[in-house]
C-alpha cells in the first residue's frame, strides 16, 4: 500500500535525509521518500503493518526533529 502524508515543521534537510534512511530500514517498508521541498512523506509498506509502521515512522521523525508531525 502506498500513501502520501503531509509533514508539519520539517525544518532541516539533513534530518529529512536521516529520517528517510531510518524509515527505510524498518521491516515491512517497501520504499519511502521524504521530500523536503514539498514537505511530504510517501510511504509504500505492507498493508497489514501499515499503521504500526506509520507509528514507528513518527517516532523516528520525532527523534530527529522533535516538532515534526506526520499528518494522518
Amino acid at each position: 500500500m502506498k500513501r502520501s502524508f503531509k509533514l508539519q515543521n520539517l525544518g532541516c534537510a539533513n534530518c529529512a535525509a536521516k529520517i528517510e534512511n531510518d524509515i527505510a530500514q524498518l521491516a515491512g517498508v517497501n520504499s519511502v521518500r521524504v521530500n523536503f521541498m514539498t514537505e511530504k512523506l510517501i510511504l509504500d509498506a505492507d498493508q497489514e503493518e501499515f499503521v504500526s509502521i506509520l507509528d514507528q515512522a513518527q517516532t523516528i521523525a520525532s527523534k530527529y526533529e522533535p516538532d515534526l508531525l506526520i499528518i494522518k
Partner: protein, 647 residues
C-alpha cells in the same frame, strides 16, 4: 511590515527574542569591557572575582532568553539518542565559551545562529511557496448540469464523455473537446505561452488552462488521473526522485563529512594540549569551531532546492523535465538531432504552389476550386490542406460521386464533370498526358474530363520558430545540429538549407533512425558531450529512449513518445529547446557554485581552526551564513529569465 505580518506566532516570538538580546548585548558590551575585566591570568567561570558574578548572571539571563529552545532541544535529543545535531553543537560551543570566560562571545554565537536560522527558514519557506504556486494548476471542481442546475463536483467523479461547463475565469478541470461556446483560453500555466488561444466548437482543450472570456461546454475525453494537469503535477512532484549526480554526491558526502569533522574536533581538543603542554581552553575553542562547521546543511538544503527550482522554473516556461538528472544532461548536451515532421515542421500539409496549364486557359483559383471539390470527402491530410487553401464553403450537393483510389488519388463526378486529382500514377492509370515535373514536395495533378488542367504542389510547412530555434542552438554553443527524416532527399535538403542545419539523413525507416543514432553515440569521443534527440511521433519512441536525452513535443506528440522522453516541450515550439538547455546549464552552474562555495568556506575555516586562529563568529558564519547564501543562490534557479544574445 507586510513581511512581519506573514510570520507565524513562534517566528514572531523568535524575532522579539533576537531584537531584545541583540539590544541588551550591545548595551552591555562597553560596560563589560569598560570594567576591564582582568582576563590575563586565566580568568574563567571557576575563579571569577566578586564583581564579575553580576556580569555572569546578567549574561546568563540573556543567554537563556536567546537560546533556551536550542538548549532544550539539545538535551531532549540526547535522551532520544541523537547527538551531534546542530542544537547540541551550538549548546556545547556556547557553554564552552562561557566556561572559558568569553560571555559576550557565547551570547553572540547563539544570537548569530538564531538570526541565521531565522533567515534560513524564511528562505526555505519562500522557495516552498514558489514551488507550491507552480503546483496550483490543479482544478478544485468541475461544473456539471444536474437536474437543470449548475452543480460543482470533484473532478475525480467525472467520467469520459460527460459534459462539463467551464465559466469565464474558471480553470478547465479535465481534458476535453468544445461542444458549444467559444472563448479565449490562457494556457500560460502549461505552455509558458502568454498569448491567449481562441477556441471554438470541436477544438480540444487541456486541463489546467484558464477560460478567459466565454462559457464553454466540454465533452470530457480523459478521466482526471489521465488528464494533462494530473500528469504534469505527478511529473513535477516526482521529478526530484530521479537524483542528479551532484545530488547523490551531496548526500553521500554528508554521511562521511559530519563524523569525520566531529572526530577531528575531538583530536584537536586533546592532542595539541597533550603534545605542546598548552592550556586545554585554547584548543577547546578551536575544536568547538570544528563542531559548528561540521553540519553539511548548506549542501543538503541547497542542491535539491536548486534542482527543484530548475524543474519548477522550466515547467513555468512550458518545459517538463522528468528528473533532476535530466537538467544535468541538458546542460551537457553538445549535439542535437531533430526529427522532421511534427518537430521542425508543423505536420500539416499546405498548398505551396498552384500551377494551372497555361494552354487550358483556367485560372489558379478555378484549379484549386476543382481540386477542393474533388477532395471534399477524403480524410487524407493532403485533402485537408487543399480544402483549407481553397477556404470558401463547398456545396456538397454539386458532388455527385467521389471515389478514393488508394495510393493514387480521387476520381469524382462534380456537376456533371469527371474530375481526377492525384499523383502521377493516377494520371498514368487514366492515360492522361501531363508534363513531367521535378517540383519539390508532393504534387497533386488535376484533370477535368480526361484533360490535364495543372497541378498543385503541397508542402509540409516549417514551424515559424524553427529557424530561430536552430540559430539559438548554434548561438549557445551546440556544435552539431542534424535532422533525421523518412522523406526524400530533395525535401530534406531544402529544409536543411532553409533552417541552416549542419547535416541531415533522408529516406530513413524508423529502425534506421535508431541505427544512425547508435552510430553517432558510439562515435562520441567525450563521454560528457551528450546527444539529444527531438521527436514527436510513435516511430520516435525507440530513438527518444535510446538517446542520451530524449526531448518530445508534448502538444501533438504521441503518448508513447512523451512516455519515452526525458523532457517534454508543452507548446511544440522547437525554440524552447535552447531555453531548456539554458535552464539546465543555469541550474547546474548554481549547483557547482554552491558546492564550491560551501565546501571552500568550511575548508578554510577548518584550516584556520587547525592553525588556531578561527573564532566562533567565523564558525557560525561557516554554518548558517553559508547555508543562507547557498539557499538564496539556489532560488535563482526558479526564475528562468534567460536571454540569448544574437550577434
Amino acid at each position: 511590515m507586510n513581511k512581519i505580518k506573514n510570520l507565524n506566532k513562534s517566528e514572531k516570538i523568535l524575532l522579539i527574542r533576537i531584537f531584545f538580546s541583540a539590544f541588551a548585548f550591545v548595551l552591555l558590551l562597553p560596560l563589560y569591557y569598560g570594567k576591564s575585566v582582568d582576563r590575563s591570568n586565566n580568568w574563567t567561570i571557576f575563579n571569577p572575582d566578586g564583581e564579575n558574578y553580576l556580569f555572569l548572571i546578567i549574561y546568563l539571563i540573556i543567554y537563556f532568553i536567546i537560546g533556551y529552545d536550542i538548549i532544550r532541544t539539545a538535551i531532549r535529543n540526547i535522551f532520544k539518542g541523537t547527538i551531534f545535531d546542530e542544537n547540541f553543537l551550538m549548546t556545547i560551543a556556547t557553554i564552552g565559551a562561557f566556561l572559558i570566560g568569553e560571555y559576550p562571545e557565547g551570547i553572540a554565537v547563539m544570537l548569530f545562529y538564531q538570526v541565521g536560522e531565522f533567515f534560513q527558514r524564511q528562505a526555505v519557506n519562500k522557495s516552498r511557496k514558489s514551488i507550491a504556486e507552480l503546483m496550483e494548476i490543479a482544478p478544485e471542481y468541475a461544473n456539471i448540469m444536474l437536474n437543470g442546475e449548475l452543480t460543482q463536483v470533484d473532478p475525480y467523479e467525472i467520467s469520459v464523455d460527460d459534459e462539463i461547463i467551464v465559466l469565464p475565469g474558471e480553470r478547465i478541470p479535465l481534458d476535453g473537446t468544445v461542444l458549444t461556446g467559444s472563448s479565449a483560453i490562457d494556457t500560460s500555466a502549461l505552455t509558458g505561452e502568454s498569448l491567449p488561444r481562441d477556441v471554438f466548437p470541436d477544438d480540444q482543450v487541456i486541463s489546467g488552462c484558464i477560460n478567459l472570456s466565454g462559457k464553454l461546454t466540454l465533452k470530457v475525453e480523459k478521466e482526471y488521473d489521465d488528464s494533462t494537469v494530473a500528469k504534469i503535477l505527478e511529473l513535477v512532484e516526482n521529478a526530484s526522485d530521479q537524483k542528479a549526480e551532484s545530488e547523490v554526491f551531496a548526500t553521500t558526502f554528508a554521511r562521511y563529512y559530519t563524523p569525520i569533522v566531529v572526530l577531528a574536533a575531538l583530536v584537536i581538543a586533546i592532542l595539541p594540549p597533550l603534545i605542546y603542554k598548552q592550556a586545554f581552553s585554547i584548543w577547546l575553542k578551536q575544536s568547538l569551531v570544528f563542531l559548528v562547521v561540521s553540519c553539511p546543511c548548506a549542501l543538503v538544503v541547497s542542491i535539491p532546492l536548486t534542482f527543484f527550482g530548475g524543474i519548477g522554473g522550466a515547467s513555468k516556461a512550458g518545459i517538463l523535465v522528468k528528473g533532476s538528472n535530466y537538467l544535468e544532461y541538458l546542460a551537457k548536451t553538445k549535439k542535437i538531432i531533430f526529427d522532421k515532421t511534427g518537430t521542425l515542421t508543423k505536420g500539416n500539409f499546405a498548398v505551396s504552389q498552384i500551377c494551372p496549364l497555361s494552354s487550358s486557359g483556367i485560372s489558379g483559383e478555378t484549379l484549386l476550386e476543382i481540386a477542393a471539390y474533388s477532395e471534399y470527402y477524403s480524410n487524407h491530410p493532403i485533402a485537408a490542406g487543399i480544402i483549407a487553401a481553397y477556404g470558401k464553403s463547398i456545396d456538397p450537393d454539386l458532388i455527385e460521386n467521389a471515389e478514393e483510389i488508394s495510393g493514387h488519388g480521387i476520381l469524382a463526378k462534380i456537376d456533371g464533370n469527371t474530375v481526377l486529382s492525384g499523383n502521377a500514377k493516377l494520371m498514368q492509370k487514366f492515360k492522361i498526358e501531363f508534363p513531367g515535373n521535378n517540383e519539390f514536395g508532393t504534387i497533386v495533378y488535376v484533370a477535368l474530363n480526361n484533360k490535364y488542367l495543372g497541378y498543385l504542389a503541397i508542402e509540409d510547412q516549417v514551424k515559424t520558430d524553427a529557424g530561430r530555434a536552430i540559430k539559438d542552438l548554434h548561438q549557445i554553443g551546440i556544435s552539431e545540429i542534424s535532422m533525421f527524416t523518412g522523406d526524400q532527399d530533395l525535401t530534406a535538403n531544402k529544409i536543411s538549407g532553409q533552417l541552416g542545419l549542419d547535416k541531415y539523413q533522408a529516406g530513413l525507416l524508423p529502425a534506421e533512425k535508431v541505427e544512425h543514432l547508435e552510430k553517432a553515440l558510439t562515435e562520441k569521443t567525450d563521454a560528457n558531450e551528450l546527444i539529444a534527440y527531438v521527436g514527436d511521433g510513435i516511430n520516435d519512441a525507440p530513438v527518444l529512449a535510446r538517446a542520451d536525452i530524449g526531448i518530445a513535443m508534448g502538444g501533438m506528440g504521441s503518448d508513447a513518445a512523451i512516455e519515452a522522453a526525458d523532457v517534454v516541450i508543452m507548446n511544440d515550439q522547437p525554440s524552447k529547446i535552447a531555453e531548456a538547455i539554458l535552464i539546465g546549464r543555469k541550474t547546474f552552474r548554481i549547483v557547482k557554485q554552491n558546492i564550491i562555495f560551501a565546501l571552500g568556506v568550511k575548508f578554510v575555516i577548518i584550516i584556520l581552526a587547525i592553525l588556531g586562529i578561527a573564532n566562533m563568529w567565523l564558525a557560525v558564519f561557516g554554518d548558517v551564513g553559508v547555508t543562507i547564501i547557498a539557499v538564496f543562490n539556489a532560488m535563482r534557479a526558479l526564475n528562468p529569465r534567460l536571454s540569448i544574445r544574437h550577434t
